[in-house]
Symmetry: C2
Subunit: 249 residues, 2 copies
Amino acid sequence: MKSDRDRSVRLLWEPPAEPTRGPKAALSQSRVVEAAIKVADAEGVEALTMRRVAETLGFTTMSLYRHVPGKSELLDLMVDAVWGETEHTPQGPWRAGLDFFARQVWAMYRAHPWMLQLTASRRMPGPQAMTRQDAAYAVVSELGLASEEIVAVVTAVSHFVEGVGRTMADRVRAERESGVSEEDWWNGREALWEHFTPDRLPMMTHIWNSGGFERMLDQFEFGLARVLDGLAVFIETEERPLVRPETCL
Amino acid sequence: MKSDRDRSVRLLWEPPAEPTRGPKAALSQSRVVEAAIKVADAEGVEALTMRRVAETLGFTTMSLYRHVPGKSELLDLMVDAVWGETEHTPQGPWRAGLDFFARQVWAMYRAHPWMLQLTASRRMPGPQAMTRQDAAYAVVSELGLASEEIVAVVTAVSHFVEGVGRTMADRVRAERESGVSEEDWWNGREALWEHFTPDRLPMMTHIWNSGGFERMLDQFEFGLARVLDGLAVFIETEERPLVRPETCL
DNA sequence: TACACCGGGTGTACGTTGTACACGGTTCTA
DNA sequence: TAGAACCGTGTACAACGTACACCCGGTGTA
């Protein structure tokens, strides 16, 4: 599960040269990665076992290790492969560009919710992920911002999308695990609702009674619009205060 | 690892009655939970083993199961215990209140980065978490918003904080695992930097060369200010469009 | 007081995970 | 043609969560 990091760099950034000797490989790195992504999509990252991947490919478990150094590196490869699946280059003025960027990432998270469970460790950044990041920076590069501001603006959008993505991914995952839809599941928790009394949770019960949880707004659309509005305020301001980290953890 | 959900509800919301018979317990549920939190804080959630928790308490592994139904429920208990650690009640007008709320959650994530790896599944909400959520709703309740808007506003802030939190948690975790500081680690990746060429990643290299990555802004402060600005725009607008989910998920 | 029984702590054992290692067969190079 | 490189396989091991059977201390009831 540990991964030698220099090996990981080579793995991601330098496509392996085909060996000249030995028998022709029936398997390949990309087939392993594809199969792993398919398993994760269909059954979740917790079902992503080396044995399971091998099974779907019709090979033994250990055969995978001829094409991938270990599970950790396989995850790196999966992540970067997914980053490369959609168009990288947002166009247009900054707001449209960031909007496009956010929607691309959002669509990616919807297609592969497990991405949000994996990026959780210091994964080696791959070329696809970096190219997308670069394109996002390019979108706000014409505004005359300082370069640390460019980074901050893009990062703010990313953080928001990551946040909504996580909530969404949790729901998807829970629905698959339990086989029950979000609504049905919560409806089945009478034992829980008994404790939602107006004296303990006044606002919660009020919102519930006035139907605020049933007619929920689209959290992605709502939040993204607010974030972009906030960035617009910042960008249009003449005197921009530079917020430097003091106790940045 | 599976958890019976009704049992979980009782576990979290109904403090267990002390048994009248049998020997006095040398261990207790709260001691187990405390010990588990300490382990997770110090060694990360991946080191959080039933065996490890038992070891720090000086008991056998199986003794834990007398006080906690299983690991999954132990995680539920840990999460809610942490939510209860800090003050719940933000005060003041909406902006100050949401600011306070965000900072509280942020501080919590800094103290317990593993929280962001756990909330990832449909965890049973506990009383502490719900109380805090309720207080957050209360803060924006005086603005005359529709109840679904109240939810949306608070959720937008939560999503942002979750996003920054994740990035921060990843760094913390990586630093502990590798024993190397973020900066040193990246500096040691010469094999990686070789691939950051101006033709492949123009913006990235430009920002790098102009020092934009060295003088990074405080992502939490910057992002939070933008999000609150964006919410202010929304709140002060007369005609608020209600964004309903169309293809939610 | 006698005794049954409830419940806390222990020890063993099983299935599942990632993967190290040795092996046998295949294909190209010297 | 000998040998090296490489592919796929089979076995084996340590670490994980936890089911199960066990012992024994304390309390309520007879």
